[in-house]
């Protein structure tokens, strides 16, 4: 009787900025095409629904050794993940992720940010990191760090207006991303400084 394919190994999750990718090592069988299927189990299924598993249709019988599980990891609870190898009609045992995965462990990076001075107006352009993200933007007049101001930006459609600037003055800005659903923030971006139009004498 033909042997069953081995269960996939080295199952792990790469999770950055609330995008969660499940990966595993390929099952190598000379001259054969091995396909994989992925299932997940939330804490709800484990505790209230007889430990049932739910297949991810986009990752059923695929040849790739990764699966984007972001859409299904949509609650801040502990998830189980498992992968199986199929070789024709023969099916391996399930390989299961070691330990649980909770999205609150995702690594958060600071947003890509561009600070703009347009006349006397301080503006910022922020990278769209997805619907789960907001941004905490801190800005201050150079030399007056203790009078730092904050703006929470939820819509990053384009150039966001922060404030007006005193003529000729230099202003600095830094930002961090924040995910309300897991109540965590990234580190701050590099500080960027720009200068308002006009010369400072206008204010004397």
């Amino acid at each position: 009787e033909e042997a069953l394919p081995p269960a996939p190994q080295n199952i792990s999750i790469l999770s950055t900025n609330m995008k969660h990718i499940l990966t595993w090592s390929p099952v190598i069988i000379q001259g054969e095409t091995v396909r994989y299927s992925v299932e997940f189990q939330g804490e709800y299924e484990r505790v209230y629904a007889n430990e049932s598993w739910i297949p991810i249709s986009e990752c059923s019988l695929i040849t790739a050794t990764l699966c984007n599980i972001t859409e299904d990891i949509s609650a801040t609870v502990a998830y189980n993940l498992r992968v199986r190898a199929d070789l024709g009609a023969r099916r391996s045992e399930w390989g299961t992720l070691k330990g649980f995965f909770n999205r609150n462990t995702t690594s958060l990076t600071p947003p890509v940010m561009k600070v703009i001075a347009d006349g006397y107006h301080l503006l910022v352009e922020l990278e769209d990191m997805g619907p789960a993200f907001q941004f905490r933007v801190l800005y201050w007049k150079k030399g007056q760090e203790r009078r730092m101001q904050q703006k929470v930006v939820k819509e990053v459609s384009s150039v966001v207006h922060l404030d007006t600037m005193e003529a000729g003055a230099e202003y600095c800005v830094k930002a961090q991303s924040y995910v309300e659903a897991i109540n965590r923030s990234s580190s701050f971006s590099q500080t960027q400084c720009v200068r308002a139009q006009g010369d400072t004498s206008m204010w004397l």
Binding site: Y44, V47, Y48, I56, D72, T76, V77, Y79, K154
Partner: protein, 152 residues
Amino acid sequence: TAGNKILHFGACRVSMSMAEIRAGFTAIKANIQARDSIRTLSILSYPHSLHKVNSSDRCCITHHLFNFYVDKVFKHCRTEDSYVNRKISSIANSFLSMKRKLGQCHEQNQCVCGQESTEKFKQILANYEELNVTSAAMKSLGELDILLDWME
């Protein structure tokens, strides 16, 4: 945007990812409601709408309802449609996460149950028990927007 909400129930403050639940429900609303052909009964709205509950009882009713959905509804809503099942799982796990937060308020006595909320929840259970389990669960799931509208 993220659309998290900080729901205030007196001293109890609970952050809830309402937008995620809304998005999950909106994606399957037509499918789930189409499975409920009983128009003459509503689990949550009759005879008294949730909107008539006075504010001091809101926390207790919400706590009861989260337990109700987690304990009695989602597990009986398995369908033949994998996409729908995934969305139900997403909602169920979000509810579980929020049920836990509300439970902490309940334990710290910040979620007092008055007579009105007790009566209201009894009515909801009575409505639920009028139908067979699967029909009652599917109808309850189809009424999730009634609960979300009221909570917001």
